[in-house]
Each structure stands twice: as structure tokens, then as C-alpha cells.
Subunit: 362 residues, 2 copies
């Protein structure tokens, strides 16, 4: 079990990763709160509610259900959850536990940041992506119309508890999708994590999720380090967007139907790698190693049917300015990326066409 | 024109009160923002949009309309406004101007605090209550079901611009309702403001609103001082609830149909005064002066038809704890209140029955 420490403008907090991480809630919540509510999904809670309550010492916690899926990240759901909290008697001394993946975490964080103008919450991420990425950093948000996270807050949790055991009931695809985000952190972190991920990749399956433990802690640490230095996305935090530029465009182009988020990021990292190589920023052998790692995570549904012009038109621009420039996060070597804002469109299109032709052999 | 300074955990900001306060926006916004959006009501903007744009130097500001009335303080409206901002191209370098009364201010502040995780906003209050109270202090919020401000944030504006000229088009009742809040601040502030308010009360009408200027500045200063010392409602900020305990209960008991907010606070202050006297905290002559001042603001619709038990059951309890105690703010003399948490129910009921019998002569 590893305890990582996040510094934040609001208050510092810990990210606890590893077997039995849930136990840390016992000591933390024992005397601080008058009541505890768990925001979660029914199926997930049916399987993990009991062990979670046993490990964390939660008694009499009330649950608030959220339907599975991205559609739950809505202001309508915020209203429903807030009404359920009120009805259940939640007040400013209530602790909210967001028990689930990215949707529950983003929604739960937003509710916590606004219910009675702010109550405490704890993230208990139950997917790979959430454990290494989205549950850390205090970004909350819901979608408005087609716009992801248009409405949200910066509001750190009091604690993040990531037990890899919970990953064992993920289906294979969801599990693998999360590994693309681990790969992203490995590329950002450099040789120690990258090498270890390379070595262990073949044995990573939901059923031996606990073996992921040490890797997860290191991958989470990448996020912890970045957000501790740049909580509000002033600059450094942008490196976390590696693979997300193309990734977002692919998700939109396929109406969020074809890919899980991590899978789109997988394609996105392949494209960023090709683009970087094409621009002369990344040497061939390193590019090859990065690409191999991503490809070994698993096959991805094809993108050869997508029109490049359409995908390119959907590339997200700098959030600070609608119609702003596209900030590319491009690997220079394993352990180093560069942010480039003026990449010629032709190079982007060419890199994209190249990855469209990538074939997978399982 | 007076410039009051608010200190805040986030950043300090100014409240500018007086004729031509709007002009201060010119210098402030000139170079900071890429675009400006005004959140306002149609009728209000039709009357005041041009003078406001002329004074503030706003060019090409886009407007987002909010229907009049409390129903606009909803998450549904947040969604609509956010969608309109996005459609209009608002980004993180957009300034939002909340031009209106409490509803527009509370909603606008909430939208600003969450749109793209936070953009800057300026409060331009156009009612008496908003100018002396709700636009200052950074509390934002929307209602969920029957619960006022259940969802909200602490998020200070960058500037508050209160020009009394805009009050001249208020209808007489709305104007007078705001004067009860001025009376509240006068009771809290003590003799200088109280005496001045007593002297000028009879000449205060919408049409000579500019004469209100100096009074408004002093009343606003009461709020500025309190929130500068207690932004997050840790304790001191509670004094602002003078008259609000009974007031809220009366509003609820009459389903928010009979009274404007300030009017309910007027009744509430009368009840608090009677209660304080009954508990031996307030001497008769001072009680008489306070009551006279409140009564001179104008007649209030009667409450003699309301069942005391029902009203008493609706008294709001400490927000920090559902089912918590009732914190009474009771005047001890002009310029001093005391917070009392253990008032016998019998005394409360008796005080309420007393004010039910108060008669008004216009």
C-alpha cells in the first residue's frame, strides 16, 4: 500500500493505492462526519458494497444510485442527487463517497462541491482509468449538450482510495481500456515505469488485478506529481493530454459509440507518436518502442472508415479560448513530451492517415 | 461615489456604490477579457441596457435572457445559460456581467463559478436588496425542489457596481421591500446609519432614488465588513440573518406568494425585536425605536391568518446540521445583536402571536 501526497491550493490530501486501501477510510472518517452517503451504481455496489463497508468500517451509509454511463454526467442528475441527499438528511457535516468510475467520480465531485455550497468527499475509484487518472486532481464536471465537462469545478477530494482488487470484476475490454492510460503515464514518466509496464503487460488481466498494484501506484504518482505542481491547468497539467487531442476527435467522430475513452486515447497516442516522428521530434527506435507498447495493450476497433477531414475538424482547441490553437502533446522520448502549438495541418493529416492503416494482430 | 473594499480568501474586490458606479467597468474590463456576456431580464435591459453600455463602455456585449422570477434559479436554467454561452463562443477569457436583482445575481454567480470550471463575473445589482446585500459576498446558488440555494458555491465577483439611478424604475413595492433590508443593516450598524435612515425615510421613493446614494453606500458597507471578516459563514456572517429566521418561515408558510423577500424580513425583524424584549435582552425604548423604523418603511400584508404552530414548524435550523438548533439573531440595542441558540419555544410562540396582531396605518 502506498500513500501519495497531493498538494493543492485548497488543502493537501492523500491518494492511497494498493491492497486494503479502503481501510484508510476507517480512521479518516471515524469522528469527522455526522453521516455518510455513497454515490454509486447498483451493479457495482451489489458486488462490492459489502467488502467496501467491511474494510472501511462504514456503517449505516446510505446509497444514492446513478445509472451507468456517460449520460449520468448531467445537471439533471445533479438535481436528482442533491434532492436525494436532502431527503436523506445530508447536511454540511455529511461525507460523500464517490464509489465508481469516471462518471461517478466527476458527478460526485461536482455535487460535493456545490451541495450546500460544498461538503467533503472521498474518491473510491473502481476502474483503471479512474484509479490512475480521473479520481486524482480535483477536477469535477458534468456535460451540457454535447460538450463534455462544460460545467464543473476545481474541488479536491479529502482522500482517494484505490484498491486494485476492485478491478477484478471489470470486463476485459474496460480493463484493457484503462491500460492505455497507464501506458500514457508510462510514456510521461520514463524508463522505470515504462520498462516495468513492458515486462508485465502480458500478465495484466482483470483476474490477477492485484498484480497491477505496484504499477498502478507508479502510474497514479505521475498524475499526483503533475497536479501538485499545476492544479488549475496553468500549463504543466497539459502534458496529461497526451493522446487526448486525437482521442477526443475520434470519440466525437464516432459519437462516443465505438470506443471506450482509453481506447480512443490509445489511437490518439499512436497518432501523436507518428506526428512527432514526422516532425523530427522523436527518433525511430523510441517511436517504435512506444508504438509497440500501445499495440501490445490490445487490438483497437478500426478507424479506417473515418474521413480524415471530419476527424481533423473535431480536434479540440485550447479550452482557454474557443477557436484557440491546438496544443499538441508530442513525445520526444520515453519520459519527455513537448507541447507544440503550431503544427502544420498537412503533417497532422498525414500522421492521421498513417495510423488509419495500422493493423492489429492479436 | 464610494469604493468599498472586500477582502476574501480567493481575491479582494471592490464594491462601488453611487451615481456613475457603472463607469468603473470601463477601466476594469478594457484589456482583461476577450468577450463579455450580460445575463439579464428583457424588460430591465430594454430600459437600462443602453445607459449601462454607454456608461460602462461595453461594446458588442451579447445578452443572455433570464425570465423574471425565482423559478429562474434552477439547474435547468444553469444548463440553458451555459449552452447559450457556449453557442455564443464564451471561453475562459469571457467576462459575465450579472445585470439584475437577486435572482440574476445568484444564478449568474453560479454559472460563472462553474462554466468551464470558473470564469470572471461582475455584479451589477438593480434592486435595493441586491445593492445592499445579495450582490456582495460571493454566495451563489440555485434552488432544488423547494429548497432555496441547495446547490451553490462561494465564488466572489471581480467587481460590484451599484448605481442608485437604476432603482428609479422599480415599482414602489419592490423598492420598499428593499428598504427593510436597509433597515436591517441600520439596526446592525448602529446610530450613525440608523439615525440617518430615520431622518430620510419619508423622502425615499423610487423617483428620487439618487437621494438614497449615501444611505446605500453605508448599508452596503455593513455587508462588506461582515463578509470581509467571515466569508464562509463560520460565525459572524450569521448576524446578517436578523429577521430572516421568522422571515423564511413566513415565506414558506405563504408559499412565497404573499411577500417579497424584504417584506418577510420586515415581519421577521418585528418578531425578533419582540422576542428580544420578551427575553429581557432589549430595553423598551430601543425596541420602540426599532419597531417604529420598520413600521415606517410601510404597511405589510397581514399575517394574522397564519397558524402559529405551522409557522413555527417552518423556522429554519442551522444549515450546518439538518435538524440542528435554531440560531436567533436578537437585537440588544441599536448597533448590537446577539446570537442565541436556546430560546424557549413558548417565548417564540408568544412573540409571534404578538406581531400577528400588529396593525398598520398608512
Amino acid at each position: 500500500m502506498q500513500r501519495l501526497h497531493v498538494t493543492s491550493g485548497s488543502f493537501p490530501y492523500d491518494v492511497i493505492v494498493g491492497r486494503d486501501a479502503w481501510r484508510a477510510l476507517k480512521k479518516f472518517a471515524a469522528t469527522r462526519y455526522r453521516s455518510t452517503f455513497v454515490l454509486t451504481e447498483r451493479g457495482l455496489w451489489r458486488r462490492w458494497g459489502k467488502p467496501f463497508c467491511a474494510a472501511s468500517g462504514l456503517k449505516n451509509a446510505r446509497t444514492v444510485w446513478v445509472p451507468e454511463g456517460e449520460a449520468s454526467k448531467s445537471l439533471k442528475m445533479v438535481e436528482r442527487v442533491a434532492a436525494a441527499l436532502l431527503e436523506g438528511g445530508a447536511d454540511r457535516r455529511t461525507l460523500l463517497v464517490a464509489f465508481g468510475g469516471g462518471v461517478v467520480g466527476d458527478l460526485g465531485g461536482f455535487v460535493a462541491s456545490t451541495y450546500m455550497r460544498g461538503i467533503d468527499y472521498v474518491q473510491v475509484p473502481t476502474t483503471v482509468v479512474a484509479q490512475v487518472d480521473s479520481a486524482i486532481g480535483g477536477k469535477t464536471g458534468v456535460n451540457v449538450r454535447a460538450m463534455k465537462n462544460l460545467v464543473g469545478t476545481f474541488y479536491p477530494p479529502r482522500l482517494v482510495l484505490s484498491d486494485p482488487a476492485v478491478l477484478s470484476t471489470l470486463d476485459k475490454r474496460a480493463f484493457r481500456s484503462g491500460l492505455y492510460e497507464v501506458a500514457k503515464h508510462a510514456i510521461l514518466a520514463g524508463p522505470p515505469l515504462f520498462n516495468q509496464f513492458e515486462r508485465r503487460l502480458d500478465m495484466l488481466r482483470p483476474r490477477n488485478a492485484p498484480a497491477l498494484g505496484p504499477l498502478l501506484a507508479q502510474a497514479a504518482k505521475v498524475k499526483v506529481n503533475v497536479v501538485s505542481r499545476d492544479e488549475r491547468e496553468a500549463g504543466l497539467r497539459r502534458v496529461l493530454n497526451l493522446g487526448h487531442t486525437f482521442g477526443h476527435a475520434l470519440e466525437e467522430a464516432t459519437h462516443y459509440q465505438r470506443f471506450l475513452h482509453g481506447e480512443a486515447v490509445g489511437w490518439g497516442m499512436l497518432a501523436a507518436t507518428r506526428l512527432s516522428k514526422r516532425l523530427g521530434l522523436l527518433a525511430s527506435p523510441e517511436a517504435e518502442r512506444i508504438e509497440q507498447l500501445i499495440r501490445r495493450v490490445g487490438p483497437l476497433l478500426p478507424i479506417c472508415d473515418l474521413l480524415p477531414e471530419r476527424v481533423l475538424s473535431l480536434l479540440p482547441r485550447d479550452k482557454k479560448a474557443v477557436g484557440g490553437r491546438i496544443h499538441w502533446v508530442l513525445p520526444e522520448r520515453i519520459g519527455k513530451v513537448r507541447i507544440v502549438a503550431d503544427v502544420p495541418r498537412r503533417a497532422v493529416a498525414a500522421a492521421f492517415r498513417e495510423v488509419q492503416r495500422v493493423e492489429w494482430h492479436e
